[in-house]
């Protein structure tokens, strides 16, 4: 076994980014970036495959002293458990897809790939860091690559959207910072490790704060963490930044944003909000699940209804993301006390994060391919695209059908699990949420019907694109789409390979 495998996986993209500084030739830069993401993907796959499920727990631990002062004590602690292993794999896969999807880029190529690779490092860091301050460092660091990527290589009102994205996330991060500091300032807490690791003698925050009084009420700390993740998830009514950021971001960045960045919030909900607040004094997560589940339901229905009205393809998928991430919260919060919960819904919620990552990644990828050719994302100007670009249409259809939850694709698995589990606990919310699936069928089918089939709606005098000369994607365009379709189908047919992992991780979080 390679030593420090997690550290290597996390920082390999960043090191390549430094190496890219010295390259001059455009082709070499693109080749090096793609090669780097292939290697990182290989590392993440290696981590995923060599995680020993029979042992469970945290594996591949890297632990060093980091900050040791009167006012804050923190260590460099990286590791993988059953819950983070699939998410690391997802990050590796989607970063590879994002790099491959950017091979046509012409503007400021070197900087572009440097930012993409730094983004990958920071997301990997979020999923692997087990120290709360380190987690926060990676969680916030992602802002700068995203700001640059959206505001330089984006389209439309790109600077506005990028600033909005940063300010929303910084505001959420501010709450999280206060929550972290409040936890650390409490007498019971002596280190900032998020989990207990017996072999290293590390006691995690969940054990330290169990039954203890904190410096500010535990419910406030819970809410602060929740706000930070709700902004990122994004949850109604804090979702405002997402449609703008998605619409104006370049294709690869949309893939990263929807595919992995939103999952950092879901990951945080499980690791922190669920992991920490089960035995705290005077307040447990179960006291607030009725509110969380309501917010989830509103997100699902609101997101779906707004999606129906969209005419911009990217905006449409962005709003559908809000609806789909609502399912994550619905499944997550379906519990009322220590006994009354269901592993079905929790696993389903984790699975929804993974499947939504792959499905939306594919959606944005194919929309990007369409936009490259037609230079428009306006549904009213598209139509009959299947005739000219059948392969793109096939992949677009796959992503659409998987997204509406067709059996055989991955979306079905996670949604059915969430509904099965949460129906026992919050039946009314689940019934209302189930209509989200109906609405999803509505917007997906209506959208594909208008954009891909039927007649081309382009007016004769409109010079946006020339329908007759449209060309299908070439092999290199389709390769990332292929890659990302594999997990969608595998999970649809054989979901257990991932559910086993999530189940292991979640069982360790639940006391």
């Amino acid at each position: 076994m390679i030593n420090y495998l997690v550290t290597i996986t996390v920082f390999f993209p960043a090191i390549t980014a430094v190496f890219l500084l010295f390259l001059k030739n455009r082709d070499k830069i693109i080749f090096a970036a793609i090669l780097s993401s292939v290697i990182t993907f290989a590392f993440s796959l290696l981590l995923f495959l060599s995680y020993d499920k029979s042992l469970g727990g945290i594996q591949f631990i890297d632990h060093f002293k980091w900050i040791d002062s009167y006012n804050i004590k923190s260590s460099y602690l990286l590791g993988i458990d059953g819950f983070s292993a699939p998410l690391v794999l997802l990050t590796g896969l989607l970063s590879l897809v994002a790099c491959m999807a950017s091979w046509r880029i012409k503007l400021r190529v070197k900087e572009y790939f440097i930012w993409i690779l730094l983004l990958e490092t920071s997301v990997m860091g979020v999923f692997t860091s087990l120290d709360l301050l380190l987690f926060f460092v990676f969680f916030e660091f992602e802002l700068i690559p995203m700001y640059m990527l959206i505001s330089i290589w984006g389209s439309g009102r790109k600077e506005y959207s990028a600033t909005k994205f940063v300010i929303f996330t910084l505001a959420g991060g501010a709450f999280m910072l206060i929550a972290i500091l409040a936890l650390f300032s409490s007498e019971a807490v002596t280190s900032l490790s998020m989990v207990s690791i017996n072999e290293l003698g590390i006691v995690g925050i969940p054990e330290m704060i169990a039954g203890q009084k904190l410096i500010i009420p535990a419910s406030v700390i819970f809410i602060f963490f929740f706000i930070a993740f709700a902004v990122k998830l994004p949850l109604w009514p804090l979702h405002n930044w997402l449609p703008d950021a998605h619409t104006d971001a370049p294709t690869a960045v949309s893939i990263m944003l929807a595919g992995v960045l939103l999952k950092m919030a879901g990951y945080g909900l499980f690791r922190i909000n669920l992991g920490f607040f089960q035995e705290t004094e005077g307040f447990q997560i179960f006291d607030y699940t009725n509110i969380l589940v309501l917010l989830g339901t509103i997100s699902i229905i609101y997101g779906a209804i707004v999606t129906l009205r969209q005419t911009d393809l990217k905006r449409l998928i962005a709003y559908s993301s809000i609806s789909h991430m609502g399912y994550v919260l619905l499944g997550f919060s379906a519990m009322t006390n220590n006994q009354n919960f269901s592993y079905y819904s929790l696993n389903g919620s984790a699975m929804q994060m993974f499947t939504h990552g792959t499905i939306t990644g594919l959606s944005f990828l194919t929309v990007g391919l369409i936009y490259d050719r037609t230079h428009t994302r306006d549904i009213n100007k598209l139509g009959a695209l299947t005739r000219k670009m059948p392969m793109i249409a096939v992949f677009f259809m796959i992503s659409g059908l998987a997204s509406l939850g067709l059996p055989g694709f991955s979306g079905f698995v996670s949604e059915i699990m969430i509904f099965l589990g949460s129906y026992k606990i919050y039946p009314i919310h689940t019934i209302i949420s189930a209509f989200g699936v109906v609405l999803a069928a509505g917007y997906i089918l209506w959208m594909t019907q208008r954009a891909l089939f039927g007649e081309n709606k382009l007016q004769n005098d409109d010079k946006t694109y020339d329908f007759k000369s449209l060309k299908d994607a070439n092999l290199f365009d389709l390769l990332p789409a292929f890659l990302i379709t594999i997990p969608i189908i595998i999970i649809g047919v054989w979901p257990n390979i991932f559910i086993d992992f999530f189940d292991l991780g979640i069982k360790e979080m639940i006391k």
Binding site: K65, W66, I67, D68, S69, Y70, N71, I72, L133, F136, V137, F138, E140, F141, L143, I144, Y147, M148, S151, I152, E159, T163, V166, I167, L170, A171, G173, A174, F175, L177, I178, L181, A182, F184, S185, I215, I216
Partner: protein
């Protein structure tokens, strides 16, 4: 006995002689390198002396009839101050040689101000504190007037009037403290109960210091002075002066509040001032169109963040290390920002915010260095600014000042608006950069070194954090 004491203040003495030597040598030779090398030589020697004293340090001593103290805190701060001044001299070599008419007077005054600052950070007697504060700020007034712009004289006068005004207020505070505690020596303050005289004295004392530290609402001079002063002086004011002022504040506060009395009202008052400083600074900076004024307001906001650790110091002494770390980190960051700013001003011959649009395309190195400084001011992870903010806010939460910490972090994302605006101008804007002049690469070199420090201290702060904890514990 008094001759033994001289050994401990060797480094200010060396600097004083350097200042006089530089002034005299101007009569005999007009060669620029001679003046410069002798300056750097004097700074270097005193730095070496300080390092030797630091590593052979044995115990705290009070010197010269208990008017000054020799401890690790002094040594650490003095090393920081001299390093900052050294960096300023090296980076602004080109500026001092070509744009200042009376360069040996300029250098000599700046070093004399540094000597004043060195005494400020070791003084424990209010009379000594007063004298050394004057010694550090009087040369600055003359130095501000060295600027060539039309605002220079105005800025100098503003600083002169407000500095003397603030010293008056400071002395009033001293009077009250003396009346209430029976001593003007920090070590012999005998405060057994909280009475109005103590509180009044503390408030006056603090207001006097707040002028120097440009804490709102006593910040009015900052934007005008920054705009009118030559850049080396702006850099010196926002880095070295800040370090000296906060070291003095830490020293005074940690002695006065070393008893177990509870100062709830004072804490509330200072928290409001700190919040006001952050908010006024950030909101003021949003409106600015001039780079120097923008950074002046940003200084006001950062003074507010630094004050958070000082407030926490009232209840827990070790909280002072957070402010110290923040101040040192801020000084390093500001060095990198101001050096790259001067480089940009040389290129554009303008200080407008819009003049740096599209800079990255033609001048990538200075842009990256500048951006690192800005990100550190904004408090993005992996920079020293982030660590500083985490530390001061943690000290606030530790002492139950949760609301103040919340106000602080909310302010730091308000500041994202104008810091990102600068980054947008440099990196994102597709406008063509208009170059109207040439600049010296020395700016970028020194700024690059400080931005490396920004990154290193941001990623592994323990390097100096443990030292700072150590020196604060020795107070």
């Amino acid at each position: 006995m008094i001759y033994d004491d001289i050994f401990y203040i060797l480094s200010p003495i060396i600097l004083t002689f350097t200042a006089l030597f530089v002034l005299m040598i101007d009569f005999f030779t007009n060669k620029k390198p001679v003046i410069f090398i002798s300056t750097l030589f004097g700074l270097g020697i005193s730095l070496i002396v300080l390092f030797i004293q630091y590593f052979t340090f044995e115990k705290n001593q009070t010197l010269f009839f208990e008017t000054i103290v020799f401890d690790k805190f002094y040594l650490f701060s003095a090393i920081t101050l001299i390093l900052i001044t050294l960096a300023i001299f090296i980076a602004f070599y080109d500026y001092i040689v070509n744009q200042i008419s009376f360069r040996s007077e300029f250098i000599s005054l700046l070093i004399l101000s540094l000597v004043g600052s060195l005494f400020v950070i070791m003084a424990i007697d209010f009379i000594t504190i007063y004298l050394s504060l004057e010694l550090s700020s009087l040369p600055i007034i003359a130095l501000i007037a060295f600027g060539k712009g039309k605002f220079s004289l105005e800025a100098a006068f503003k600083y002169l009037i407000l500095a003397s005004f603030s010293t008056g207020i400071f002395l009033t505070g001293v009077v009250y403290i003396y009346g209430a505690s029976g001593s003007i020596n920090l070590h012999y303050l005998n405060i057994t109960e909280i009475n109005p005289a103590i509180i009044l004295g503390m408030v006056f004392l603090f207001i006097g210091l707040a002028f120097k530290l440009s804490i709102a609402p006593w910040h009015m001079w900052t934007p005008d002075t920054y705009q009118g002063s030559p850049m080396p002086i702006v850099t010196y004011l926002s880095t070295a002066s800040k370090v000296a002022g906060f070291v003095l504040t830490i020293r005074i506060f940690s002695e006065i509040f070393s008893n177990d009395l509870s100062y709830t009202n004072l804490i509330i008052l200072l928290s409001i001032i700190s919040f006001a400083s952050m908010t006024i600074g950030n909101l003021g900076a949003i409106l600015q169109k001039d780079l120097k004024r923008l950074f002046a307001y940003s200084t006001v906001a950062h003074a507010g963040y630094m004050l958070v650790g000082i407030i926490a110091l009232i209840t827990t002494k070790s909280s002072a290390s957070t402010t110290m770390f923040y101040v040192v980190g801020y000084a390093i960051t500001n060095l990198s920002v101001f050096f790259s700013l001067q480089h940009m001003i040389n290129l554009t011959k303008s200080t407008s915010v819009d003049s740096i649009k599209g800079l990255f395309h033609s001048h990538p190195y200075v842009s990256v260095v500048f951006a690192l400084g800005i990100l550190s001011l904004l408090g993005i992870p992996a920079t020293v600014g982030f660590m500083g903010k985490v530390l001061v806010f943690s000290s606030a939460v530790n002492n139950g000042l949760v609301l103040l910490a919340i106000a602080g972090v909310i302010n730091s994302f308000v500041s994202a608006y104008y810091y990102l605006g600068l980054l947008r101008n440099v990196f994102v804007s597709s406008d063509k950069f208009e170059q109207n002049g040439n600049s010296n690469n020395l700016y970028i070199l020194v700024a690059f070194i400080s931005s490396i420090l920004v990154l290193v201290l941001g990623i592994y702060p323990d390097i100096i954090l443990s030292t700072i904890d150590n020196v604060i514990a020795g107070l």
